[in-house]
């Protein structure tokens, strides 16, 4: 079944398509949750199931070519919400940035976080962007990410620094307000 066929069947409410979705993407979804939550196997299964229920209830807005990304996004966010609920967080490299505050009047028209993130990340070279996403989105440690990308640790840290600077620059320029 192609992704297009799977999507059509899901949007028709075909539960066989949901089964196919689960079989196809459980490994992917649960690997994201596992990476963020560590060894909490029960939590991992529970959240993985919740991700597919969200996908089923949101099947009308799934888009071809973006199913995996959607599942990944829901998985990642559910795992982080669970982690933060336990008052824990992942040890991220320089996990915060500080930006100049601007008044609402000064803020540019588009201060939507998703748009600004897209804008900032699209201005990074692909390897830099990949590293940034691996670390800050998927929660992979800098060391693991550097090893998998076959770069040395100091290079990885320099690339992440560049990514944070770009993000700070865009957020300030566009007057990001939470």
């Amino acid at each position: 079944m192609t992704e297009q066929e799977l999507l059509k069947a899901l949007q028709k409410g075909d539960t066989a398509a949901l089964e196919e979705l689960i079989r196809r993407y459980t490994a992917y979804v649960s690997s994201i949750i596992r990476r963020i939550l560590g060894g909490r196997t029960e939590d991992c299964e529970e959240l993985t199931s919740e991700v597919f229920l969200v996908a089923w209830n949101s099947r009308g807005k799934l888009q071809e070519g973006k199913i995996k990304g959607f599942l990944g996004s829901v998985a990642r966010n559910k795992a982080f919400v669970r982690l933060r609920g336990l008052h824990e967080d992942l040890p991220l490299e320089e996990g915060v940035i500080f930006i100049e505050e601007r008044s609402v009047e000064e803020a540019a028209e588009h201060t939507d976080a998703a748009i600004l993130l897209e804008k900032a990340l699209s201005q990074l070279e692909k390897p830099h962007r990949e590293l940034f996403v691996r670390h800050y989105y998927y929660g992979q440690t800098v060391k693991e990410a550097a090893e998998e990308m076959q770069i040395n640790l100091s290079t990885a840290k320099a690339w992440l620094c560049r990514g944070r600077e770009k993000l700070k620059d865009i957020l300030e320029k566009e007057g990001y307000t939470e």
């Binding site: 089964e19 994201i32 199931s49 990304g69």
Partner: protein, 274 residues
Amino acid sequence: MKEINISRLMDNYTDNEFNLEGEAGADTEKVLKTVMEQVKPAKKTKVKPLSKVMIAAAAAAALAMTGTVVAKAQFPKHTITSATGTVFEYEQHGGAYGYELNVKNEDYSDLLTLEDGRLYFSIENTRIDITDLIDRQTPYIYSYVNEDTGYENYVIAGGTADQYAVVDMVYLEGAGWTGAGEMGGENGAYNGINGRINVTVEELENNGGNLSIVFTRDPGAPYHEHLNAWQEGAPCPTLQPYKEIPEQWRDECEDAWLLEALFRLDILDPELIF
């Protein structure tokens, strides 16, 4: 200076580029069992795609004015309520007309709202910002199983902040799909009153079926003014055979998002429209 937590900021991001894989953390069979126990299947399958569909703009205008659509099948009176609260009543009419449809309790004022330039879709205790999920070509589709019929029905939204619209599509057993909706935004209203939308996809045993989509900016306008309203901008499927419209114009039509939804949901087959 304001402190921004990058991890929390990334909650707003979706990665469609790298899709990082890793060691699985859950057993597929266990997840399958848990999920399938909680999912209620649709009671019936949806109507099969029409064998033939044709554009009938003039007929659609007449139907929009009278609230009446025709079909050949025989069936008793039905009252169907959609997830938006709109009531679709249809009953056997006799003579040349197969049934009469009355749409009641239409109130779409809270369904799709424009707030500070963002479009919010609210239904059944759910509120979602769909501004970035829709445009002139891309629909947002809300699916639910209609408790009165057991069929999966849809509420479809599309457009932009200047001209947005929502259509409440229900499947009427023996008749086909029908939809009612509202159009808002600066270009979707007339004298401050939101425009109306009527959609019918009829099943006719001998002819295959009819599609009519009517966008009406001025509900009180006489027939010819409805036509004028449709003709603003590029030619649209409501006025001429879909296949004859140059591809670059199809996407410019004000109902392109709605057609896309109907194609995607197999309510219409784009190859069969002539």
